[in-house]
């Protein structure tokens, strides 16, 4: 009897041991299989996600001068006080993936001289969904979803028979005050996320 008991317990022991070994084996196999299977997805992840974190380095030749993050628009005296907004393309250094272009057109702005020494520069991109607005002399109108703004860039009210889906007024750009004092209009050109009430710069 005793002997049988011993055999039983040994068998049981062996059984649990086998179970454990089996479980370990299963876990290890599972992990290895998952790793092997996920490898190809992981291999490309850093490259795929690079737009989120990679800052492209300017070519060395550009770095030799002082880096300008402001763009020239026009001279102050090119604008008549109170005249309709004028449209300019502003230039800056830009990457297009593997291409680098120095001083290419990077944005579109409307400029208006509001007083002898004040100007207003508006980004021509519609804050609703990112189309380019046009100026008809009395208002800015977007051709996509009919957003409309007065000449100050303020969004026109959407009641009284006007559809205006834009969540905010047009985006003003910072004018460099030192250059303005010298009679030239330079702006910090910036695009903003569209479709939201606040202005969040795209960086």
């Amino acid at each position: 009897m005793d002997v049988n008991k011993d055999v039983d317990s040994t068998e049981k022991l062996n059984q649990t041991d086998a179970d454990r070994r089996h479980l370990t084996m299963a876990a290890v196999t599972g992990c290895v299989t998952a790793l092997v299977g996920l490898f190809p997805f992981g291999a490309g992840l850093a490259a795929y996600l690079s737009p989120l974190y990679r800052k492209q380095k300017l070519p060395a030749v550009v770095g030799t001068g002082a880096v300008n993050n402001i763009s020239f628009v026009c001279s102050l005296n090119a604008l008549q006080i109170g005249a309709a907004p004028q449209r300019f393309k502003v230039k800056g250094d830009q990457f297009n993936a593997w291409n680098f272009e120095a001083q290419k057109d990077i944005g579109d702005v409307f400029v208006r001289r509001t007083s002898p020494d004040r100007v207003q520069v508006l980004n021509a991109t519609c804050p609703h969904a990112g189309c380019a607005v046009a100026c008809n002399g009395t208002a800015f109108v977007c051709p996509c979803h009919n957003s409309s703004f007065d000449l100050d860039g303020a969004k026109l009210k959407s009641d009284s028979g006007r559809e205006n889906p834009s969540p905010r007024s047009m985006d003003p750009l910072d004018v460099d005050s030192r250059k303005l004092a010298e009679g030239e209009i330079w702006v910090e050109f910036q695009n903003f996320y569209t479709g939201r009430e606040d202005r969040k710069p795209k960086t």
Partner: protein, 659 residues
């Protein structure tokens, strides 16, 4: 021979079991017999296979990248034999899928084929629908033309709306700016990831469908049948019909449309998504909070669709509600699509404006927006045709069509610069025609509080420059009627309508004798010849030989009634007084000088009050920073207005492109 085939059959079957598989497929039981309504699934499979095959063909010609994408699609469309047909089939078959998908969905729900145990297969179907819509969206960008670019820009801008959307947007666009990487990523999605997912999900979808069999709502309709041959016949006929319709569309439209190459800094007034996304486009106009229109509403709709099978058998009448809701949703999408198309075409229709004040104002505003849309669409078409001429004449340079060809062409850049810098005062439209094909709209006519255009508006614009300096132009100037100098195409919207010239024309040139009218006609010919317009070259030559020009020049100094032209204007050696110089009026030099600085002595410099609101665009030749336009830009506008470079054999254009 027969025994050899039989032997091969047995050999293959022993190793693959294919006999059983195709028997399972062909002898699937169709309860109640074959029906036409079951054909949509097969149609979708055929459509997808067509897309995959035509897609592979297109792949062999397509090159993503912002200097290559449009160029390679243009190449397929215009140069590759049968390329337009191939691209057309790929385009219209995607349209066909968008028509059949909702029908398939509707059939499944109507037949209650989405409830237990088929929930998962229903969800697979919805995922397939989303994948197909994703394929449509990613495919639209690939030609990198203006409409694809702007439609996709809007769609990807919307991605940034939900939390974390900014990151998603960067991953999809490949950075902040749109460029090569946007195309490579979209292409990878369109030709790689999405079709792979689609094949995987579709395999499950079909396998599960086989597992559950066909659902028939009211059995006892008729005797059961096998899938083969009657249902296969019906499927094949329906597929054949689809192919006929798609081929018909391709031939009718001569393939899929292609616009001018994408230019990220050119306002595109006709940016619209493909028609199957118009309901979402229209939905965006409805909400001031874009998040609701672009994200919340579509998400709620998808959530509803996904939850349909879960509630159908648990809650009473839920199935009925599901069916009704589905009709409401499809109807709503249909209505929004109709509304978007209707609003865009408003200017082409003769409708009575609504009585209600608010609706009336809205109507006029929409009509104006519609005019802009139609004009922009026509302009894009014209630009494409011109791009085609340029490519056929010069070939596509390495830097691409946009920066290598289009940038230097007055016929393309002239209207664009005009729209950017001149159209807030001037228009460009044939006064004799209502056709929008060749128009650039000027400022809108001021409206009263009801939105009604004012009958007698204050000065708000400047002359319509269509046909500048040609004979019609001078005829209009010397025309005392409402269609003439004081009309809306000339001085009617400027302060000059109260000026001396209008008084002169209205007082001196009305009720003319035949003899006087002949003098005026000669003046028209003589002055117009000063411009040396290409279009009028022959007519000017004739007028020179038959003495009309000489008579016209002499007539300038003769009093028509009491005053002559030269009492005020200069003409070559004849000194005039206080009015613009007519010597070489409208010539390239005259026009570029005028745009550069209308305040010059020659033009309105004698009296600064006389220049209405025209800015000096390039007053300072030696200090370019003070100018609003570069000399090159002014040259492009002037050459376009004069039609100088319409003919591609022109040496000037060739010189520009050689640069």
């Amino acid at each position: 021979m027969k025994s050899l085939l039989q032997g091969l059959h047995v050999w293959l079957d022993e190793r693959t079991g294919f006999q059983q598989q195709y028997e399972d497929a062909l002898y699937e039981n169709v309860p109640g017999g074959s029906r036409w309504i079951y054909v949509t699934g097969s149609m979708l499979v055929l459509a997808f296979v067509t897309q995959a095959v035509t897609g592979f063909y297109l792949w062999m010609f397509y090159s993503p990248g912002s200097q290559n994408a449009w160029e390679s699609v243009f190449w397929i469309q215009t140069q590759v034999p049968g390329g337009w047909f191939l691209r057309g089939v790929h385009h219209y078959m995607s349209n066909a899928m968008m028509v059949i998908l909702p029908l398939h969905l509707l059939q499944v729900v109507l037949f209650k084929a989405y409830v237990k145990p088929r929930e998962i297969n229903f969800w697979m179907g919805l995922i397939l629908m989303l994948l197909v819509m994703g394929l449509g969206l990613t495919g639209y960008l690939l030609p990198w033309d203006q409409k694809g670019y702007w439609a996709t820009k809007v769609a990807t801008e919307l991605m940034s709306l939900p939390p974390g959307g900014g990151m998603l947007q960067k991953l999809v666009v490949g950075g902040i700016e749109y460029g090569h990487h946007t195309l490579t990523r979209f292409f990878a999605l369109h030709a790689g990831l999405l079709p792979t997912l689609l094949v995987l999900v579709l395999s499950f979808h079909v396998a599960l469908f086989r597992r559950h069999g066909i659902t028939v709502p009211n059995s006892g309709r008729g005797a059961d049948e096998y899938f083969w041959p009657r249902q296969v016949f019906k499927d094949a006929m329906a597929c054949g019909l689809m192919l006929v319709v798609v081929t018909g569309m391709v031939l009718w439209h001569h393939g899929a449309a292609l616009g001018p190459p994408a230019e990220p800094l050119e306002t595109f007034g006709a940016a619209r998504p493909e028609w199957y996304y118009l309901f979402l486009f229209q939905l965006l106009k409805k909400f001031e909070n874009e998040f609701i229109g672009a994200i919340v509403v579509p998400a709620v709709v998808m959530l509803f669709l996904f939850s349909m099978p879960l509630v159908a058998n648990r809650i009473r009448f839920a199935h009925i509600v599901n069916v009704v809701m589905l009709f409401v949703l499809l109807g709503g999408a249909g209505y929004l699509t109709y509304e978007a198309i209707h609003h865009d075409g408003l200017a082409r229709q003769e409708l009575n404006p609504p009585e209600n004040v608010v609706e009336r104002a809205l109507y006029f505003e929409r009509r104006e927006a519609s005019q802009k849309f139609i004009v922009s669409q026509a302009q894009a078409q014209r630009e494409f045709e011109r791009a085609r001429e340029l490519v056929e004449f010069f070939g596509i340079p390495k830097e691409g069509a946009a920066s290598g060809l289009l940038k230097h062409d007055p016929e393309i850049q002239g209207p664009r610069l005009f729209a950017r810098h001149c159209a807030s005062c001037h228009s460009y439209e044939d006064p004799q025609s209502d056709d929008y094909g060749n128009k650039i709209l000027g400022p809108p006519i001021p409206r009263d509080e009801q939105g009604e255009p004012l009958v007698d508006p204050p000065p708000y614009g400047a002359p319509n420059l269509y046909g500048f300096a040609n004979r019609d132009w001078f005829r209009r100037i010397l025309d005392p009627t409402d269609q003439g100098l004081a009309g809306r195409h000339m001085f009617g919207s400027t302060v000059h309508r109260d000026g001396e010239m209008v008084t002169f024309v209205q007082e001196e040139l009305t009720d003319l004798s035949d003899e006087q009218q002949m003098l005026v006609d000669d003046i028209v010919v003589a002055l117009s010849a000063e411009a040396k317009l290409k279009d009028q070259q022959q007519a000017d030559q004739v007028a020179l030989q038959d003495g009309t020009i000489q008579r016209g020049i002499e007539a300038l100094g003769e009093a028509i009634d009491s005053q002559s032209c030269l009492d005020c204007h200069c003409f070559h050696n004849d000194e005039g007084g206080m009015a613009p110089d007519l010597s070489n009026y409208g010539s390239l030099d005259w026009l570029t000088s005028f745009i550069a600085d209308p305040q010059l002595e020659r033009f309105y410099g004698y009296d600064s009050e006389m220049n209405d609101r025209m800015p000096s665009f390039a007053k300072h030749p030696h200090d370019p920073k003070l100018n609003l336009l570069t000399p090159r830009e002014i040259d492009l506008i002037a050459r376009w207005l004069r039609g100088d470079d319409r003919d591609l054999g022109n040496r000037h254009l060739q010189g520009q492109l050689a640069l």
